[in-house]
Symmetry: C2
Subunit: 113 residues, 2 copies
DNA sequence: GAATAATACATAAGAATCTAATGTATATTT
DNA sequence: AAATATACATTAGATTCTTATGTATTATTC
């Protein structure tokens, strides 16, 4: 089962930041594969969503890039800046709190208002 | 702390459906207040987001409406249809699974790829 | 009793962020 | 040699939200 895409909205940036925090340095294609691997293919990040997100993170100064050449093929590595690291902590804890809050709504079962 | 709005994206429809499943019958304004109450004001649903969502649920046959007059003021009550009830179960369990999957990404701490 | 806040509906322009499609090119596997 | 995988990127269109605005009634506060 693949999750309906609407659920990814709003969490993609946080996912990317967290992966960069855990892996020091990653390139785009690697991120798509890592997410697929970690989630048993339940979340698949499309390139059309990922690359603009990475570019936005760079424009916001949260990541810096570094090119690597594998033969003639280029890889663009992304790495968190200090600002990016603290932003990651914020975003991750916000998402965790959000999920805890959502559980209140999803789990309780009030039959009357 | 109010959650950044991007997190609401993709979950609003599920929240509304779940509240209707738990409360049998609700009107728009009541939904905004209930969410605020359940989440200690950490999630606040705006009217500009809620009403179009309710209209979409109705257009999709997931809810039916019923008008009530309180003096001269109208309340539009929303109630799940049988289709709406089964859709609610789907959406809720999908969101729960999604959150569990997200935890894998957020909690583990791989220092190497 | 006048002003303010709360209740209750609704729409609409604009922003953000995704999908799906398309493009280019190299490297690897069958 | 052909097909698949790797690796970047952009873009039209769809979806779904924010922010602002509009209308009107009812309740509260000074």
């Amino acid at each position: 089962m693949i999750f309906s895409s609407e659920l990814i909205k709003g969490t993609l940036k946080t996912i990317v930041l967290k992966l960069l925090a855990d892996n020091k340095k990653m390139y785009g294609y690697e991120i798509t594969q890592k997410v697929k691997e970690l989630t048993n293919s339940k979340i698949e990040i499309t390139e059309g969503a990922l690359y603009p997100t990475l570019h936005a993170l760079e424009a916001d100064g949260l990541v810096i890039t570094e090119l690597e050449y594998i033969g003639k093929r280029v890889r663009k590595h992304y790495k968190l800046t200090p600002t990016g690291k603290s932003k990651t902590k914020e975003k991750v804890s916000e998402l965790v709190e959000f999920m805890n809050t959502m559980k209140i709504i999803l789990d309780i079962n009030l039959q009357t208002a």
